[in-house]
């Protein structure tokens, strides 16, 4: 059927499922991805979903990658086209020589196919209608059935899938049997009627190891549990809602007092983002570890409070799961587009600490760390996730925790310290690091009380509108920000084994695509030194790295090269030395895109000027 040689690949291809939102496909698609994982082959799945509950198109992409490339690759080798609405677009996306899997119940005119792909039809609806009478069952089991058919076509271990189903329906034998039955209906039909396997195959390997498969939002939420958060206030917004939801469900398991069955946490769904941030600020002022989870538009609403928290020096943690903006932008698509708005959130001279986790493991680590940093620095800490990390399952190293670790509650003056005669000035820089001591309300009957305000005050928190104490305080806040540079996670540098004049700076969810692109560029003889920024304010190594290279590419997922601007602005770097590589269409950045963009620019740099003709 295909006039192009069908793609042949073992453990290295991309399957994309095109579904209708709300049709129950998500769990079947996830089952497929997990089955590959159980066969010891790494996968990298991504949800591409609409702002809708039912009816609109949704896609689930699974990159099967024995080499462990967890970034998006781009292109599709096998399209499971279950949505007639997007048929033409889905078909166009298949790589030449690729495969199309579809429900062949209703005959399609040949004009609806492509000559350069292999078409695989399975009459899913017909089989379902024959086997099931309940419409809901027909829908749900159709999904399991295509997983069954795919297992035959891709030569997958059916036992691995059955095992997963049995774990999912543990104790619900009837459901297990029904799902297993549907799986085999699809698989048996394919084995009987189709040529199995096709050119794409999943072969058992041992490349997953002890890694875990987790969403960044869950990991960040678990980080908040381990980091000792006791107050969470939030307002629903995609793509951050699942962070607060995960925190809630973890707390139901992990934060119940064993004796009284009461909760060691308070979680408030606020009436809006303003109230959520207000609750966080109030709780943190009063000595609790408090956080909110939101996305760009929510941060906009919180900015007045963020300015207050910066100036009044209140610890607060804000998880920003970024999505494409501006305004409501593309609420279900990914970007790294709030770097500037968070770094300088609010009115007046403000600067905030940002952390950039690359995957769920770092989301967990930075999630827990952010509470120590907030208490130590007495300022808001932003954990900058994005939809790509937050809402997709990502394979990552297992989470670890050192049981000897103590929470760093920062400089808190206790009643004992006050009684011992230690001088207390709320905004007094006693240690030269710009960080003053604070007291919790209710500490001491006569000492240590102070009045918190967003208006200017002197070192002892006394109201003043004088210029000198105001400037003195603002300078101290800058000193504190300097202190932060050595407390936040340092950048990670991976130097090329061959000397090079070119470097790359990148951060967050770009990491896996960057690593893969770097391998491709290296193979092509293009050597690069890499620096992954993990926090703002920037450690001096960022400046050193730029100084050590002729040109540095700054790879990011926004239009305006926001991290590059921040580096230029904060480190006083000549903008001409930082070359932006920008991807901002709402899809996750791919290795192909990075390798192509950087490769082309490097090639352009290599053009040797014509020798001046000497007459």
């Amino acid at each position: 059927m295909s006039n192009k040689t069908p793609i042949s690949s073992v453990n290295d291809f991309v399957v994309r499922f095109a579904n209708v939102n709300g049709s129950g496909s998500a769990s079947a698609n996830e089952l497929f991805a997990r089955s590959v994982l159980r066969m010891g082959v790494p996968v990298s799945p991504r949800n591409i979903f609409p702002s809708n509950i039912q009816g609109l198109p949704t896609w689930y992409e699974v990159r099967i990658t024995e080499a462990g490339h967890l970034g998006a690759r781009g292109g599709v080798d096998l399209m499971v086209a279950m949505n007639p609405q997007t048929w033409d677009k889905d078909l166009a996306m298949i790589e030449p020589g690729g495969y199309l899997f579809y429900d062949s119940t209703k005959p399609m005119p040949s004009s609806k196919f492509r000559p350069d792909i292999t078409v695989i039809g399975v009459p899913l609806t017909a089989i379902c209608n024959r086997e099931y009478t309940d419409p809901r069952q027909r829908q749900l089991f159709k999904n399991i059935m295509y997983v069954g058919a795919l297992s035959a076509l891709l030569d997958m271990d059916v036992k691995a899938i059955e095992q997963l189903i049995s774990e999912q329906f543990k104790g619900k034998e009837k459901l297990f049997d029904a799902n297993k039955n549907a799986l085999h209906l699809g698989r048996d039909w394919a084995l009987l009627n189709l040529e199995c396997p096709i050119g794409l195959r999943v072969q058992r390997a041992d490349k997953v190891g002890d890694r875990i498969f987790m969403e960044g939002n869950s990991a960040a939420a678990l980080g908040a549990v381990y980091g000792g958060a006791t107050v969470c206030a939030w307002y629903p917004i995609t793509p951050s809602s699942s962070l607060a939801d995960a925190f809630t469900s973890y707390c139901r398991r992990l934060r119940v007092d064993p004796e009284t069955k009461k909760m060691n946490v308070a979680i408030v769904q606020g009436e809006d983002e303003l109230a959520s941030m207000g609750i966080v600020v109030g709780a943190a002022w009063n000595g609790a570890r408090a956080f909110t989870a939101t996305s760009g538009p929510g941060v906009s609403l919180m900015t007045e409070f963020l300015g207050l928290a910066y100036f009044a020096e209140i610890p607060a943690v804000l998880f920003n799961v970024q999505r494409a903006g501006p305004s409501t932008g593309m609420p279900t698509r990914t970007q790294q587009c709030d770097v500037i708005s968070c770094a300088y959130a609010s009115h007046g001279d403000t600067k905030h600490v940002l952390l950039f986790p690359e995957d769920p493991r770092e989301a967990f680590e930075f999630g827990a760390l952010s509470f120590d940093l907030a208490d130590r620095l007495q300022t808001p800490i932003f954990v900058m996730l994005d939809l790509d990390i937050g809402m997709n399952h990502r394979l990552c190293r297992p989470l670890t925790w050192d049981d000897s670790r103590k929470y760093d509650r920062g400089k808190v003056m206790t009643a004992e310290m006050l009684d011992a005669g230690k001088e207390f000035g709320r905004y007094l820089d006693v240690d030269g690091d710009g960080i003053p001591y604070r007291t919790y309300p209710g500490t001491h009957p006569t000492k240590g009380a102070y009045f918190t305000r967003g208006t200017s005050r002197d070192r002892y928190a006394r109201y003043t509108e004088e210029g000198a104490p105001y400037a003195d305080n603002m300078q101290r806040l800058l000193r504190k920000f300097e202190t932060a540079k050595d407390l936040v996670p340092r950048p990670l540098i991976a130097n090329s084994d061959k000397p090079t004049r070119y470097g790359v700076i990148y951060y967050g969810s770009t990491a896996p695509a960057m690593d893969e692109a770097n391998q491709a560029l290296k193979t092509a003889g293009k050597n690069l030194d890499l620096l992954r920024v993990r926090a703002f304010p920037f450690h001096h190594t960022v400046e050193d790295f730029i100084a050590d290279h002729d040109f540095v590419f700054v790879v990011e997922q926004n239009r305006d090269a926001q991290l590059r601007s921040l580096i230029v602005n904060e480190c006083g770097i000549d903008p001409a030395r930082l070359v932006p590589i920008l991807h901002y269409d709402g899809t996750p950045i791919t290795a192909r895109f990075i390798a192509k963009s950087i490769g082309e620019r490097l090639d352009a740099l290599k053009v040797t000027p014509l020798r001046k003709v000497v007459s």
Binding site: R211, I212, F213, M214, L222, V225, Y226, G228, T230, V231, A233, L254, R255, D257, T260, K262, N264, A266, V268, G270, E271, D272, L274, A275, G278, I279, V281, G282, A283, A284, W285, N286, G287, A288, A290, E304, F305, L308, P398, T400, W401, D403, R405, Y407, Y440, P441, G442, T443, H444, P445, T446, A449, Y450, F451, T452, R453, G454, T455, R462, T464
Partner: protein, 351 residues
């Protein structure tokens, strides 16, 4: 000026309360409000109420928004932590603070602009959540700090000092608080300390969302003819439902009262509110009746004052959340961190 320190010395024979504190221990900085401001009378009543209740000043957290009223938290309880937060956002800050430490007393001070205009949403949600607090609105119907604009509690038809007429309907904060589920709702006139002090005491002892709307004339911008929040207007139109005596459960004091004209409400903590009724058929335990009574008198142009509603078995936010008795800000790694063994199990379930 707040940066001018108040002298600390006082007459040695100043009376002391049960804790040995004098009035001076409940005072704050010198007020920077206009001479004769109703808000300063409220400040005096807060000081009196805390003194009479023998509260430890440092066990109070005083939280406010922005505006003339919100500045007053600096003028009482010097030994308390105060937080002059963001315009209209006192309720959320107080809610968070309350969640962090349930053992302190939370005093929220706000104004009509702060609570009925910009902060109306937060006011509403703190009431419906049942945050355990005393929420005082110092209500003058006008923006003082920005010089005389109408607020959302200004009555329709009332005139500004500049001669403009307010055409918008007024928000009655008391009616709203009742509707939203506040469990202690009162209104008073700032100039009537004998009415206000027991109402504040009752609110502080109340273990739920207590709201007091205090009509507080603005001498600079809303005390002229045509204003419905002026001293003269409020005195003429005040319809008190009851006069309150407060009896603390911790230190019972015998008070004589005439059973024919009083209603005794025992609060959950054992304190008793003795209501000397002006209106004999008024029942302060009846939320629906209170709403009716309020509407009926409003239509006659009367401002109902007194303890309008009280639920003697209130629930608060901590009850709803089933939080531990120990303040959340006092929990340590031991209670909060599940540890590495649990994390191993979580890892295992994610493979």
């Amino acid at each position: 000026m707040t940066y001018i320190a108040k002298p600390k010395f006082h007459h040695p024979s100043l009376p002391k309360n049960a804790l040995g504190y004098t009035h001076r221990d409940y005072e704050g900085k010198v007020s920077t409000l206009c001479a004769g401001c109703g808000h300063d009378s409220i400040t005096a009543s807060v000081i009196e109420a805390c003194y009479e209740l023998a509260i430890e000043p440092h066990r109070v957290a005083k939280i406010s928004g922005i505006g003339c009223s919100s500045k007053t938290t600096d003028y009482f309880l010097n030994a308390s932590h105060g937080f002059n937060s963001v315009h209209g956002r006192m309720p959320s800050v107080l809610t968070g603070a309350n969640l962090a430490n349930r053992d302190l007393i939370y005093l929220g001070v706000s104004g009509d602009g702060d609570s009925a205009s910009i902060g109306f949403g937060q006011f509403a949600h703190s009431m419906r959540r049942g945050v355990n607090m005393t929420y005082i609105v110092e209500n003058n119907g006008v923006y003082g700090l920005t010089k005389g604009q109408f607020s959302a509690t200004a009555d329709r038809g009332s005139k500004s000092k500049r001669g403009l007429t307010n055409n918008d309907n007024a928000i009655d904060m008391v009616a709203m608080a009742l509707q939203l589920g506040a469990t202690y709702v009162a209104r008073a006139f700032s100039g009537d300390k004998t009415q206000l002090v027991p109402l504040i005491k009752g609110a502080i002892e109340h273990q739920g969302a207590a709201f007091i709307d205090v009509i507080s004339p603005c001498v600079a911008f809303n005390n002229h003819a045509g204003s419905t929040k002026s001293f003269d207007y409020v005195r003429e139109h005040n319809e008190a439902v009851n006069r309150l005596d407060f009896i603390s459960g911790r230190a019972p004091i015998h008070v004589d009262y005439d059973p024919g004209t009083t209603q005794v409400v025992e609060q959950h903590d054992g304190s008793r509110l003795v209501l000397k009724k002006v209106s004999a058929d008024y029942d302060a335990n009846d939320r629906l009746g209170a709403m009716n009574f309020l509407g009926h008198h409003a239509s006659k142009g009367q401002i109902v004052t007194g303890l309008i509603y009280v639920d003697s078995e209130p629930e608060d936010l901590h009850t709803h959340f089933n939080t531990v008795d120990k303040p959340l800000n006092a929990l340590s790694e031991k209670e909060l961190c599940p540890g590495s063994a649990t994390l191993e199990k979580i890892n295992a379930a994610l493979r």
